[in-house]
Symmetry: C2
Subunit: 113 residues, 2 copies
DNA sequence: TAAGAGTATTCATATGTTTGCATGTTTGTC
DNA sequence: GACAAACATGCAAACATATGAATACTCTTA
């Protein structure tokens, strides 16, 4: 499997609004470049550049049919990642227990600030 | 809940090796700044800067005890995210079904390239 | 109140990212 | 073979991020 370092690089590649949109669409099925141009309001070269970023990271790959390139998902982490991005979460985690301990000492659970 | 855009910003904040390490430690419990210095091989100001990035994104918060600041996790998405980063995955997703369709046309399932 | 521990901020610099624009490549059609 | 469609690449400008170094802040203790 990928190392943690590689996974973090993948995270950086995904963490862009346009690329998340691209991946959301690819979760539904195969798409060619012109298909992306329809719903992303950016230029064709820009679409290509974002696809290139995802390709280099091994997130997506493509078939060739004539002059079309048909992109599809390759990395199985992507559906899980997109799922998390859209999942409902509680506002906050429960506060830490009343007397947390670190190397430097023991602390009251109260919020001072 | 957070908007998708905010979630993507959060993703960018998390997608750094040092900050992932910080969050992994915070999953185990409360830590003060000097605790991080011990296992991250970077300077104290640099630790503070990374903590600052996570704070501004609402990922973490802190208690104050005297001159110590005791950091803890706030955003419930973090444990799930870290879990995914370390989960085992198959090498690749199954190839797309034999005749995918896009707006521009229908394609053979064969790989040309 | 002076000193020191623990942490944050500011600044300068180096490096990386994003985008638009122009151009290049490949494939299919006439 | 000329031309057009579909897509990629190269380059430069604008902008963002990462890091080290210096400094400032805040709280505690003597």
């Amino acid at each position: 499997m990928r190392s943690l370092g590689k996974r973090i690089e993948l995270l950086r590649a995904v963490a862009h609004p346009v690329r998340v949109r691209i991946l959301q669409e690819l979760c539904k099925g195969v798409k060619c470049v012109a298909d992306f141009e329809d719903f992303l309001e950016i230029s064709q070269p820009n679409v290509s550049q974002h696809l290139s970023v995802l390709r280099k990271e091994g997130v997506i790959d493509f078939y060739v049919d004539g002059r079309l390139k048909c992109y599809f998902l390759v990395d199985p982490i992507i559906p899980d990642l997109l799922d998390i991005l859209q999942r409902e979460y509680a506002e906050q985690l429960p506060a830490p227990s009343c007397c947390p301990v670190t190397k430097k000492g023991t602390y009251p659970g109260r919020r001072h600030r």
